[in-house]
């Protein structure tokens, strides 16, 4: 098996046993990127020279006996993470020329272990989108079928794993942006509890919803990465100061005796038949493993998408105000005065979807509409949170589909934003409630596109969903399937 086909824990064992060097591993991935990325477009920036230098440094570190879990492991990051000295674009023309002057905390933590950065991954511009088509650097294609989208917004992160261009990546999940692309690309995608991972140095889309998480080849790697990035960060007030469990150790506990809830609002008529079938099979598998199922209700699910698009856009309209061409990023030329400079810079720098959401959010917050939209949405958000709290009184975790359909075709929904927004219907409530969720490969469509399964846990209940995901993975072989490329 090629080095680029392996997992973190495989490579780690070989690195520790000195059977392979980080330089060899890194080269394996760099070559893979070179040979495949023209057809996938997962990378915006490949940091080849620096990666090889860092790999060599990691090899020295390993030789000196100082080997942390991620030492010498090559990873790639969604281009929303600030990486010191490396261009960080957020897939926007606005930041086309932006060289980050500092590291995001999540990346800094991995880097301090000696991980190697392969490059920065494509995404929807400022993480706004569900298909990875809204990028100033062109759409990313799904490695399983290049006519299809990889999902979004962390589409590049998921596609890079599916195309075996990186062993692990980090994405961000605001309304499903890790879980949905992971599902569409046949990867494991974990959205931790809000506050579990620092957002410092991650370009903000919607601050109260954004959360950093790993996209990996299997559940063990997801646990490994989460262990590395989780924990309080004094630079992020919303990161929670509570101990980080040993996630990898928690995996082995199995699901026997766990009570899994099936929210009836997620198993609706019109759910894609292949998705429905994958869910039925997954439920059967879990029953066999000794889990118990009960139907639960999350009655406010219907309002989640509307609520999300009010809160997320409101926060985004404010978060994106700093991009005005005055101090960094894109600046329009030949402008007439201050107002014109700001207006032209923003008009030229932002893409259509970003502008649409800024306008939506500006409207939702404007005087006279604030109570009717933003405040109302916050109230509904509380109701959605309470739905989950209520459900978790009787169950240990919830099982749902990740997306209503497998990956759709490129261009299929771009003309109809509302249709696009509905593709996150099963992931969005999780962000509104701030709880954790994981997407694991659980099937394939009749046309061979991956289908993911979503497991949702209580706040800071990552151990439970990870062990349930791990048990499922052990009982099935979906995670071993590879896109033919």
């Amino acid at each position: 098996m090629e080095l680029y086909e392996q997992t973190i824990h495989d490579l780690q064992a070989q690195l520790q046993a000195r059977q392979v060097s980080s330089v060899e591993i890194t080269n394996s991935f760099l070559n893979r990127i070179e040979s495949t990325d023209q057809s996938i477009n997962a990378f915006i920036t490949v940091t080849k020279e620096q990666a090889l230098l860092d790999a060599a440094a990691a090899d020295q570190r390993i030789a000196a006996g100082d080997c942390a879990p991620l030492t010498g492991i090559p990873v790639a990051l969604k281009d929303i993470f600030l990486t010191e000295g490396v261009r960080t674009t957020c897939a926007s023309k606005m930041l086309d020329n932006f060289i980050a002057p500092y590291d995001a905390t999540a990346w800094a933590r991995i880097k301090s272990q000696g991980a190697v950065l392969l490059g920065k991954l494509n995404q929807d511009e400022f993480a706004m989108g569900s298909s990875c088509e809204n990028s100033a650097f062109g759409p990313t294609r799904n490695p399983w079928n290049r006519e299809h989208i990889p999902g979004g917004s962390s589409g590049g992160s998921a596609a890079a794993i599916a195309a075996q261009q990186a062993v692990a990546t980090l994405g961000t999940d605001t309304g499903g942006s890790i879980r949905q692309p992971a599902s569409h690309c046949g990867c494991v995608g974990l959205k931790p509890t809000y506050g579990r991972v620092s957002r410092y140095g991650v370009i903000a889309y919607a601050s109260s919803l954004d959360q950093v998480g790993p996209i990996t080849r299997d559940v063990t790697d997801a646990a490994l990465l989460l262990e590395a990035i989780a924990g309080h960060d004094p630079k992020d007030s919303t990161s929670v100061d509570c101990p980080v469990p040993n996630y990898t150790a928690a995996l082995k506990q199995g699901v026997k005796g766990l009570k899994i809830g099936l929210p009836k609002e997620y198993f609706i008529d019109g759910l894609d038949a292949d998705v429905q079938q994958a869910m039925d099979q997954a439920i059967a598998t879990y029953r066999r493993l000794g889990a118990e199922f009960v139907e639960v209700s999350l009655p406010h699910t219907n309002y989640a998408v509307a609520t999300y698009y009010l809160i997320a856009t409101a926060e985004a309209s404010s978060n994106l105000a700093r991009y005005e061409g005055v101090r960094f990023g894109h600046r329009a030329k030949d402008t007439a005065g201050l107002i014109d400079l700001m207006m032209q810079s923003r008009s030229e720098g932002f893409g259509a979807e970003v502008k649409r959401r800024i306008m939506l959010g500006t409207y939702a917050l404007s005087s006279g509409y604030y109570d009717a939209y933003y405040i109302k949405a916050q109230k509904v958000r509380t109701l959605i949170q309470q739905d989950f709290i209520e459900a978790f009184k009787s169950v240990d975790l919830l099982l749902t589909p990740v997306a209503p359909t497998p990956a759709f075709r490129i261009g299929e929904k771009t003309a109809d934003p509302l249709q696009m927004y509905l593709s996150d219907i099963f992931t969005i409530p999780v962000n509104l409630a701030g709880i954790c969720g994981i997407s694991v490969p659980a099937g394939a469509s009749s046309t061979g596109l991956p289908i993911g399964l979503q497991l949702l846990g209580r706040p800071f209940g990552e151990e439970t969903i990870l062990r349930a995901a791990f048990d499922f993975e052990q009982a099935t072989d979906w995670h071993t399937k590879k896109a033919a490329l």
Binding site: A204, T238, V326, T362
Partner: protein
């Protein structure tokens, strides 16, 4: 028609913290442009604010000192607007849940006191500043961006510019007493916006108000308000209408002029900042701050009356600033003669500071040094006249009063022998005056005192001189 002005003030108090409100950058004034900046105050992508707890502590202090109630839950909100000195495109401030609510300050109006309501006090960050170059270009200096401010909003309870100034001075005194503001008005540490309107006397409906922005001296506040009142009255009397607008005061011309009109009114789109968690202030926290609160001017004033038996005038002058009060008190406690300490501090000390144009913080004579001097007077070692010479000596060259007196032989003579000898000599040389005195002309007594003191080069103990003279002259 006669008009009644209505004045409300919004005061920006820059807090004396070492670091900014949402990052660890220094708040030092006057650094090279953009030296005191980091990703947070530059609003670089990905940067997040973390609240400086000291700011909350200072805000609680200000609230307690102005009789406000302290909100148990505090939310920071974003005030959204575009301006190049506002790097994030929003200012982090407080909106519907400010930290302090419904307080008041009492000011003196003539012989009366008047209560001025304080609507709210909230915490916020300052913006940066634009530096306009000669070539027409402008630069952005973000050193000040993120400097912590308290905004103290009064009720429209003031009716004259003098009342506004009295309120402002009182507030200034409190925040500097608390040690939460350096009080440097020239550097903008304490600045105010004045809302001024006029209405016909007897009316209960306020007129349309104009806001005068960023006035940073007591003198200018008075001038600006007085000008604005006159302008509005004249406007109305001429049949015009006051428009709601923001105006700037031009200190050179003594006039206010329009800055921006109503048509540019902003919709700030306030909403709770999702990057900051609510600040919960427990009763224990408030109690702790209360315990550690320094003594406030009013309390100090009353204590000075009772503890040191000072006249009201003295207590008022001495408590006008915390440094002056502290100086006095240290001196009084060391010398145990409070009235003498008060006289020296208000008299010789203040005069010398003024003559040399320096502040009390820079004073070369310490309270202990002054106390030493007062003790020498009280102990009869030196007279008041000599004491002034000794004070000058300490001011110029430092040193201890007793040592100076000894080195320079300035101690007063209480030795009756020496004084008697001098008296005898003077009486012998002025027998005419002796006769006059004995004939009942008491006034010549002063002549003899003067002569003796002159002969003793001012060092004779006046009490001893008096006693001996009386005996001898009586024959």
């Amino acid at each position: 028609m006669r008009f009644q002005p209505v004045i409300g003030l919004e005061v920006h108090v820059q807090l004396k913290t070492d670091s900014k409100i949402f990052c660890g950058c220094s708040t030092r004034f006057g650094a090279e442009p953009n030296l005191n900046t980091c990703p947070v105050c530059l609003a670089l992508p990905g940067a997040l604010p973390v609240l400086n707890q000291k700011v909350v502590e200072f805000a609680i202090m200000a609230g307690l000192a102005t009789n406000c109630s302290i909100s148990p839950t505090n939310i920071f909100a974003r005030k959204n607007y575009f301006y190049p000195d506002l790097p994030k495109g929003y200012q982090i401030s407080q909106f519907d849940l400010p930290i302090c609510l419904a307080g008041h300050l009492d000011i003196a109006v003539g012989d009366q006191t008047k209560r001025i309501g304080i609507t709210r006090i909230h915490m916020e960050e300052d913006a940066g500043k634009l530096v306009h170059g000669q070539d027409g270009g402008s630069g952005v200096d973000l050193n000040r961006a993120g400097t912590p401010l308290l905004e103290v909003v009064s009720e429209p309870d003031m009716r004259t510019a003098d009342e506004a100034v009295a309120y402002l001075k009182k507030l200034y005194q409190i925040v500097t007493y608390l040690g939460i503001c350096d009080g440097n008005m020239e550097e903008g540490s304490f600045r105010c916006d004045a809302n001024v309107s006029v209405m016909p006397v007897g009316s209960d409906t306020f007129g349309t108000r104009a806001e005068i922005k960023n006035v940073n001296s007591f003198k200018f506040v008075k001038a600006a308000i007085d000008y604005e009142i006159a302008r509005q009255i004249e406007l109305i009397e001429d049949g015009g209408k006051v428009v709601q607008e923001t105006r700037l005061f031009d200190p050179n011309k003594g006039v206010t002029r329009s800055m921006r009109g109503k048509e540019e009114a902003h919709d700030y789109r306030y909403f709770p900042d999702p990057d900051l968690v609510p600040v919960v202030i427990s009763d224990d926290w408030i109690k702790r701050v209360k315990r550690e609160l320094p003594e406030l001017p009013e309390v100090k004033f009353n204590r000075f009356l009772t503890e040191y038996s000072l006249p009201e005038y003295d207590a008022d002058v001495l408590t006008s600033s915390r440094t002056l009060a502290d100086y006095f008190e240290q001196c009084a406690q060391t010398c145990t003669n409070a009235k003498a300490a008060a006289n020296w501090v208000m008299g010789e000390l203040t005069r010398s500071l003024n003559d040399n144009g320096i502040s009390l913080e820079q004073c070369p004579v310490s309270p202990a040094q002054l106390a030493g001097l007062i003790r020498l007077i009280d102990g009869g070692t030196i007279s008041g006249t000599i004491a002034k010479k000794v004070f000058e000596e300490i001011w110029k060259n430092g040193g201890d009063a007793a040592a100076i007196v000894e080195q320079q032989g300035l101690a007063q003579v209480s030795d009756t022998g020496a004084i008697e000898a001098a008296i005898d000599q003077i009486m012998a040389a002025n027998m005419g005056q002796v006769e006059e005195y004995r004939g009942g002309k008491d006034k010549v007594f002063g002549f003899f005192v003067g002569q003796v003191m002159k002969a003793m080069k001012g060092k004779a103990n006046p009490a001893v001189v008096n006693d001996l003279l009386k005996q001898k002259l009586a024959g």
